[in-house]
C-alpha cells in the first residue's frame, strides 16, 4: 500500500473562511499604522526633512560664500591691476622728472660753461687788446727812437 489516505472532517474552516479575523485584523492594522506613525514615520520623516533643510541651507550658504569669495577675488584683482598701473605711472613720472632734472641741469651746466667760455674769451680779447695797445705804444716809441736814431745819425 503505497498511498494512504486520511480525510478528516471538521466543522467550519476552509480557504475562504471569513470570520471575525477580518475586522480584528483591520483594527489591528490601523493601530499598527498609528503606532508606526508615532515611532517610525514621524520621527524619521522629521529627521529626513530637517536634514534636507540643513543641506539646502548649507548649499545656499556655501553658494553665498562662493559668490562673496569670487567678488573679493575680483576686487583683489582689480586692486592689483590698479596698483600695477599706479606703480607704472609713478615710475614713468619719476623717470620723466629725472630726465627733466637731468636735462635742465645739463642745460644749466652748458649755459654756465658757455658763460665762462664767453667771459674767458672776453678777458682774452681784452688782454689781447691791451697787449696790442701796449705793443702799439712800444711800436710807436721804438719807431720814434729808430727814427730819432736814424735822423741823428744822418
Amino acid at each position: 500500500m503505497s498511498w494512504t489516505l486520511l480525510l478528516a472532517v471538521e466543522e467550519g474552516g476552509g480557504l475562504f473562511d471569513i470570520n471575525a479575523t477580518l475586522p480584528l485584523m483591520a483594527i489591528q492594522f490601523l493601530i499598527l499604522a498609528v503606532v508606526l506613525n508615532k515611532v517610525f514615520y514621524s520621527p524619521l520623516g522629521d529627521a529626513i526633512d530637517e536634514r534636507d533643510g540643513y543641506v539646502n541651507s548649507s548649499i545656499v550658504g556655501a553658494k553665498e560664500k562662493l559668490a562673496k569669495a569670487e567678488k573679493i577675488a575680483q576686487q583683489y584683482e582689480q586692486e592689483l591691476a590698479e596698483s600695477r598701473r599706479q606703480a607704472q605711472a609713478i615710475i614713468a613720472e619719476a623717470q620723466a622728472e629725472a630726465e627733466k632734472v637731468a636735462s635742465s641741469q645739463i642745460a644749466a651746466a652748458q649755459q654756465e660753461a658757455q658763460a665762462n667760455k664767453e667771459q674767458v674769451q672776453k678777458e682774452i680779447d681784452a688782454q689781447k687788446a691791451s697787449a696790442f695797445e701796449v705793443l702799439e705804444g712800444q711800436v710807436a716809441s721804438l719807431t720814434q727812437q729808430m727814427l730819432d736814431k736814424l735822423l741823428s745819425a744822418a
Partner: protein
Amino acid sequence: MLDTSYGLLSLERNSFAFFTQFKPWLRESSTIFPATFCANLKNGLEMIDLVPMSLLLAKLEVGEHFYWEIAGLKIHGQVFMTSWFVIALLLLFSVLATRKIERIPSGLQNFMEYGLEFIRDLAKGQIGEKEYRPWVPFVGTLFLFIFVSNWSGALLPWKLIHIPGGELAAPTNDINTTVALALLTSLAYFYAGFRKRGLGYFARYIEPTPILLPINILEDFTKPLSLSFRLFGNILADELVVAVLVLLVPLFVPLPVMILGLFTSAIQALIFATLAAVYIGEAIEGHGEEEHG
C-alpha cells in the same frame, strides 16, 4: 462559507504526509494538483493510515485553522500569532532605529531611512507632491506589513512550531487579512476623495460620460476584490508550490522556487501598496478638469 474537507495524504515510502483540503470546484480542476487530486478521489472520510505527526518532515495544510473563540466570535489564531510577530518585528526595528536620531545616519537608522524614503517616493509618485504626506503612514504600513509578513512566511520555518490546529504561515496567507487590508484601502480612498472634494466626489462616477456609470460603480467592487485575491492567491500559491516541492524532493530542488517566492512576495507587497496609493491619488485628483487644466 464553502463546503470543505480535509485530506492527509502520506507517502509511505518516505513517510511524508500531505495535508490538504479542497473545495468542490477545486476538485473539478485536476490539473492544479494531480497528486492530491488522486487522493481525493474517494472524497473520503475513511482513514487508512496515520503517520505520527512527529515524523512529518513536510506537510501541507490548506484551509485548516487554529480557532480561537473570543466573545463567541471565531477567529484564526495562527494568523494573529504570526501577525503579532510581524508587528513586533516592525515595532522593534522602528524603535531601535529612532532611539538615537542623528543628522548623519548610520546603521539601522540609515536602513530604516532608506525604507522610509522608498515609501515616501512611492506615495509621492502616485498621490502627488502636494497631498502625499498624510498618506505615508497608511501606504507605508501596508507595504511594510505585507512585505514583512510575506518574507516571514517565506524565510522562517514557521511549520516547525506545532499548534493544535492548522499551521503557522504568513498572515497574508489568510483571506481575512488580505480582505481586511483591501477594504481598508477602499475606505481610505473614499475618505480621501470625500475629504478633498466633498460630495463632488460622486461626479467621478459619471466621468468622462454617464454611460460609464455602471462600470465606474463596478470598479469600487473590483478594486478590493482584485487587491485581496491577488495578494492572497500569490502568497498561498507560493507556499503551496514550495510545500509540494519539499514534499517531493526535500533537498535543494525547492531552493529556486523559494528564491522566486521571495521575489514574488516582495513584488506583491509593492503592488499592493502602489495600487493603494494609486487609488487614493485617483480619488484625490479626480478625472475632472484639474487633470486637463
